[in-house]
C-alpha cells in the first residue's frame, strides 16, 4: 500500500483524528469495565466470607489468600514444604513426561500421517488406547511402577503423547495435494516429498498438538499428585483439603494456573520463532 499521506486535505485529516479519538475512547472504556468487574468480583468474594454468607472454614477471603501466599513463600507449614519446593517438584516431574511425549509423539504422528501401511499398522492400537483418560491409568501404573516419580512421569507421558500424535497426523493428512504434486513432478523420492513438503506443512498443527499436550500434562500432573505424592502443587492442595485450609488450596490452585499460563506463553513464543513463515493474520 503506497504511503500517500502527504497531500490529503485538512478536512480529511481532522475527520480521521475524530475517528482515531473515538477508537481510543472506546478502548479506555472497555478497560474501565474490565477493571471494575474484577474489583466487584473480589469485593463480593470478600464480603461473602466477611458477612458470613459462606462459613470461613470452607472458603477464605481474597485478603487471606494473599497473606497465606506470602507466608507460604518461606514457611513450610502446614503442608510440609515451601511453595518454591512444590513448584520445582511439579515442574521437574511434568517436564520429564512431557518432553518424552513430544519427542516421540510428533515424529510418530508425522510418519503415521504420511506412510499408509505404517498408518494402518499403528492406528488401530492407537484408537483403542486413546479413549481411556490418562487418569484411569494411575492405579495400574502405581501397581507397576510404585508411587515414585516414574509412575507419575508415565501417566504424564500418556496424557501428552496422544494430542502430539493426532495433531501431527492430521497436519500431514491436510497437506494440499498441489504441494505434493510440485515435489513429485520435480522428481522427489517418496521420502523427499515427506521431508521437504508434508513435514513443513504439518508444523503449525503439530505445535497446536504440543500446546494441547502441555495442558493435558499439567492437569494430569495435578491428578497424580492428588492421588499419591509427597510433594508438589497437587499434593499441596490435597493437604489443604485434609487440613481444612481453604487458603492453602486456593494459593495452590492459583499457582498451578499462573505457572500453566507462563508455560503456554513460552511455548507460543517458541512456535512463533520456529514457524515464522506463517502469516500473522
Amino acid at each position: 500500500m503506497s504511503d500517500n499521506s502527504k497531500q490529503i486535505s485538512t478536512e480529511t485529516a481532522n475527520s480521521i483524528q475524530i475517528e482515531a479519538k473515538a477508537k481510543r475512547r472506546e478502548a479506555r472504556q472497555l478497560l474501565l469495565i474490565s477493571t471494575v468487574s474484577v474489583l466487584v468480583f473480589l469485593c463480593l468474594w470478600e464480603l461473602a466470607v466477611r458477612a458470613g454468607w459462606i462459613d470461613s472454614k470452607y472458603l477464605c477471603a481474597p485478603t487471606m489468600v494473599v497473606e497465606t501466599f506470602l507466608q507460604k513463600l518461606t514457611d513450610p507449614k502446614p503442608d510440609g514444604a515451601v511453595l518454591g519446593v512444590h513448584i520445582i517438584t511439579s515442574l521437574r516431574l511434568v517436564l520429564v513426561g512431557y518432553l518424552t511425549a513430544v519427542i516421540i509423539g510428533v515424529p510418530l504422528g508425522l510418519i503415521m500421517g504420511y506412510y499408509h501401511t505404517f498408518d494402518k499398522l499403528v492406528s488401530p492400537i492407537f484408537e483403542i488406547v486413546r479413549p481411556i483418560p490418562p487418569i484411569a491409568w494411575i492405579p495400574l501404573s502405581i501397581i507397576w511402577l510404585g508411587v515414585g516419580t516414574t509412575a507419575k512421569a508415565f501417566i504424564i507421558f500418556l496424557a501428552a503423547f496422544v494430542p502430539c500424535v493426532i495433531n501431527s497426523y492430521t497436519g500431514v493428512k491436510l497437506t494440499p495435494v498441489v504441494y505434493l504434486n510440485v515435489a513429485k513432478t520435480s522428481g522427489a523420492s517418496n521420502w523427499e516429498v515427506f521431508w521437504t513438503v508434508s513435514r513443513n506443512y504439518a508444523m503449525p498443527l503439530a505445535f497446536t498438538g504440543i500446546q494441547v499436550a502441555l495442558g493435558n500434562a499439567w492437569s494430569t500432573l495435578v491428578a497424580s499428585e492428588l492421588l499419591a505424592a509427597t510433594a508438589g502443587l497437587g499434593y499441596m492442595i490435597q493437604q489443604g483439603r485434609s487440613l481444612v485450609r481453604p487458603d492453602v488450596i486456593i494459593v495452590g490452585m492459583l499457582t498451578i494456573g499462573v505457572i500453566g499460563a507462563i508455560l503456554t506463553t513460552l511455548l507460543s513464543k517458541l512456535e512463533n520463532h520456529v514457524v515464522k513463515w506463517r502469516s500473522r493474520a
Binding site: 504441494y179 504434486n181 513429485k184 513432478t185 520435480s186 523427499e192 513463515w277
Partner: protein, 248 residues
C-alpha cells in the same frame, strides 16, 4: 520448423476412471522448444491430460515418450505450474525458485547461477527473502513460474496460471512467460480457457473436443511477436478457434 527433432511423443493416450472414459485415443507430437497451447470446453479433461503427462497418474492405454524414452519425473525434468497458487509457504521466494534444482541435486554453483538468472528475469531482486504470505497473488504466481523455468525443463506444463489476474497484469505476465521461454528454450505446454490468451501465446494451438476428449483440431499461429490483439489476422485465428469451442 519441420526438421526440429521431436521432444514429446504422445501415442494413443486413453484414460478411463472406472467406466468413465475421459481421454479417448489422443496422439500428437511436440517439437523441441515449441510453445503449444491446449484449449477446450470447460471440464473436457484438460487437467487429467496434464496429470498423465507428468505421470502423476498412469494412462489406461497408450504411452508418452520424452526424447524417445517413456516419460519419468526422476529421469526427465518436467516442471508443472498448477492453477492454484503453489509456492511453498515455508520457503522464501529464492528458496522456492531453487527447490527443483536442489531435488535434482545440482551443484551449489549451478543452483546459485540459475536462481540469480531467473530472479533477474523476473525482477524480484528486492523480494528474494519474502515469504509467500507477504506477496501479492500475482507475485507468488511469478515465483512459481520462475521455479518451473529454473530447472531448464525438458517439458514445462502450465495449467491456466493467469486465471485470476486482471487484464493489465495478465498482459505483463504473458510477455514475461514469452521472455522466459525464449531465454531458456524450454518446450512449453500451456493450458487455458481464454482463447485470446491462447492465440497471443501459442506457436500452435491444440483444440480438445468435449468429453471424452480427443484432438479436434491443430491450428498453427505463425504471427510475428509481440502480437496485437486487434490485428485482423489475429482476430481471424481467434474467431476460428472460438467457433470450434463455443458451447454456450
Amino acid at each position: 520448423m519441420e526438421n526440429q527433432e521431436i521432444k514429446v511423443q504422445v501415442n494413443h493416450l486413453t484414460k478411463r476412471f472406472g467406466d468413465l472414459l475421459v481421454l479417448n485415443d489422443i496422439s500428437f507430437n511436440i517439437k523441441k522448444g515449441e510453445f503449444v497451447c491446449i484449449v477446450g470446453p470447460t471440464g473436457c479433461g484438460k487437467t487429467t491430460f496434464l496429470n498423465l503427462l507428468t505421470r502423476l497418474i498412469d494412462p489406461t492405454e497408450g504411452e508418452i515418450l520424452i526424447d524417445g524414452e517413456p516419460a519419468d519425473p526422476k529421469k526427465h525434468s518436467i516442471s508443472f505450474v498448477f492453477q492454484e497458487p503453489s509456492a511453498f509457504p515455508w520457503l522464501t521466494a529464492q528458496q522456492n525458485i531453487e527447490y527443483g534444482l536442489r531435488i535434482k541435486k545440482k551443484s551449489s554453483e549451478e543452483i546459485a547461477a540459475q536462481s540469480e538468472k531467473i530472479i533477474g528475469l523476473l525482477g524480484l531482486e528486492k523480494y528474494r527473502n519474502a515469504y509467500p504470505h507477504e506477496m501479492s497473488v500475482s507475485m507468488e504466481q511469478r515465483v512459481v513460474i520462475g521455479r518451473a523455468f529454473a530447472l531448464n525443463p525438458d517439458l514445462l506444463l502450465m495449467d491456466e496460471p493467469y486465471g485470476q489476474m486482471d487484464i493489465k497484469m495478465r498482459y505483463y505476465l504473458e510477455d514475461e512467460v514469452i521472455r522466459l521461454w525464449q531465454a531458456t528454450g524450454s518446450t512449453v505446454l500451456f493450458i487455458t480457457h481464454n482463447l485470446e490468451e491462447a492465440t497471443y501465446l501459442a506457436e500452435r494451438v491444440l483444440i480438445l473436443s468435449n468429453k471424452p476428449a480427443n484432438i479436434k483440431a491443430n491450428i498453427n499461429v505463425d504471427l510475428p511477436r509481440p502480437r496485437k490483439v486487434s490485428d485482423p489476422e489475429f482476430i481471424k485465428i481467434r474467431k476460428e478457434i472460438t467457433d470450434m469451442i463455443k458451447w454456450w
